[in-house]
Symmetry: C2
Subunit: 341 residues, 2 copies
DNA sequence: ATTGGCACTCGAGATAACAGAGTGCTAACA
DNA sequence: TGTTAGCACTCTGTTATCTCGAGTGCCAAT
């Protein structure tokens, strides 16, 4: 029907205006924006209706109206039309990835940074290491008389190193022996399964040498748990300080963002592969005035990580969402390539 | 003389009270704190004197007094007595370093994090790579059909790796050849000298193979410039949001902290090896209401990096400074050990 | 040099008045 | 039945005025 159609148009106008100005919107200006096809009084009636439906809020009686989180929700689900990325946009985005460097951790870091610059929001990226990720190779190389570098490569393409000081003089022979030993024991094992306990039992089979190699085994344990724990990266936190509506919660918000564990739980509680939660839809009170976009990406059938944007509720949804979608697709593709190897 | 002596005592009392309460201090409360040995009127006279000397400020006529940056300066230079670290304090601090892991970048990161937690301030750490740092070793290992990991070790103990995709099928033979080639060319070269230009000229000597190895040489260049550029790390930025007096500048301040280049210039403009600049003494306006502690640490004769604390002017100088000194000494020692190898 | 006393200043908080923006409602209209 | 003009009403933000209290500055006495 004509009427409800207009109501939605009014809602969309209010939201878009509010997004760009940050001020409550009055009936008169809405009427103007709709080319005065109807009078401001009519708009007022519509706004009263939208208010009763819970889609609009008013800061006080005589102010204009602003969207409630339900209003945003309806806008996002039904009303807005996404700005599709132009060919140029896509090539600009493509240029942000270094295709030669297929280190997943690095890719995610780059993606988070790029996305935060593009959107003016804070972004997070994180990886979950599925059980299926295995040790691919262990390398040990000398880095001085009593110092060695241990390098662990996982089947998902993640590579980490650690420097370790040992109590004996490093010779090629010893390294070669220990490297062969490690590879025979570890290659093919799930990263998740390599714990201090496991390595203790392994150490026993080294017999009299076990004491000497203990620090190295500890290092392997640390490398594995670093990989197993996944990576978390946040970028552009400072951007959030520029939004007045977030500043009462700025401290709590930035603390949340820098807390890997808490953010991981925010990501985990997302019901779908890509989710947008608006304002009070968020379970955490730090995020009650924010919007959170989360998208998970897959390698094969496994969800292996997530990319997220945290911004104010008043944000250009139509512009942001295509960015995130594009990054998600791109990352899935790049990371699958790495994994195929 | 008796009088000036008391004036200084008054100044110290005002500063210490202001540091702990954040409120301007009145003559009456100062008199109380000095056990009413003199009356508040006397204190008022002293305060008027201190005010004329520029050591105190008043927010408005009928408020108490608070220290000016000159006041803090005098307090720090002449008046305060440092809280020396207890034996326990020192062992708590020692436990924060992993002595087995002598990777300088990692040590600095850990130091910055620990220091920010201890002080409730933001901290930065940075390294400068002196010309004397040379390539110690290059390792190249296979990580898949067309993927290799390049590892570069520098003589200062820094080790970095990069994953690289190549256009040929990786065999042991090729890797061995290229590794030998790289080591023969690069080992002993100053990290600073390895530029794209240098590697281009090297590539020529590879003749027909040069095209194949180009991506790898590019990677070496990137690794070298990453090491040559030094490392910059900031921690505890969020802590600053808790201080009201910094919040008008919070956005600018956090942006400054996350900008490696700008912070490096702040560090570079420090005249001494350890410097404390208070409020307006800072050249950058973002820091006009902050205090900045910077200490540089040395390996042998070379300054190789810096550790800094950024906090409000109203900060417990007597407690913070010993922490920073201890970290500086500790880092110098640990890093010298690495370098000796 | 120190002190008690006192006038003075300034900000914080309370109160009132007023202008302006925007709504809600009603009665008239198409 | 949907739309409109008109108007009373409500609420905020601003400005002005007043008072209270904290704290100073200064002076005369010790």
């Amino acid at each position: 029907m004509q009427t409800d159609n207009r109501k939605m148009k009014v809602l969309a106008t209010i939201i878009e205006t509010y997004i760009s100005t940050g001020e409550p919107v009055g009936s008169k200006s809405v009427a103007n924006m709709l080319d005065n096809e109807v009078s401001s009084a009519t708009i007022r009636n519509d706004m009263a209706g939208l208010f009763e439906m819970g889609l609009l809020e008013q800061p006080h009686t005589s102010a204009g109206r602003m969207p409630s989180h339900l209003g945003y929700r309806m806008y996002v689900d039904d009303l807005m039309t996404l700005h599709n990325l132009s060919q140029e946009d896509e090539s600009t985005l493509d240029a942000m990835f270094n295709v030669r460097n297929p280190d997943p951790d690095k890719l995610l870091e780059d993606a988070a940074i790029a996305l935060s610059k593009l959107t003016g929001c804070a972004t997070v990226s994180s990886t979950i290491t599925p059980r299926s990720v295995k040790v691919k190779k262990v390398e040990i190389i000398s880095a001085g008389m009593t110092t060695v570098v241990m390098i662990l490569m996982a089947s998902n393409g993640v590579i980490k190193n650690k420097v370790c000081r040992v109590d004996f003089v490093v010779t090629n022979q010893i390294l070669e022996f220990f490297k062969t030993f490690c590879n025979s024991i570890l290659v093919g094992q799930s990263i998740q399964d390599i714990s201090a306990n496991f390595l203790n039992s392994v150490a026993i089979s080294l017999g009299e040498y076990s004491r000497v190699f203990t620090p190295l085994l500890e290092n392997i344990n640390e490398l594995c748990s670093e990989i197993a724990g996944g990576q978390y990266y946040a970028a552009g936190q400072n951007n959030l300080l520029a939004y007045d509506e977030l500043s009462p919660m700025a401290y709590e918000l930035l603390n949340l963002l820098s807390n890997k564990k808490d953010m991981q739980s925010v990501i985990d509680t997302c019901p779908h592969d890509t989710a947008l939660t608006i304002g009070k839809e968020n379970s955490r009170m730090e995020l009650a005035t924010a919007s959170v976009f989360i998208t998970k990406y897959n390698i094969g059938d496994h969800t292996t990580g997530a990319l997220g944007i945290i911004g104010p509720m008043r944000i250009d949804y139509a512009k942001i969402i295509p960015y995130l979608d594009y990054f998600q697709a791109k990352l899935s593709k790049l990371l699958s390539d790495v994994y195929e190897d």
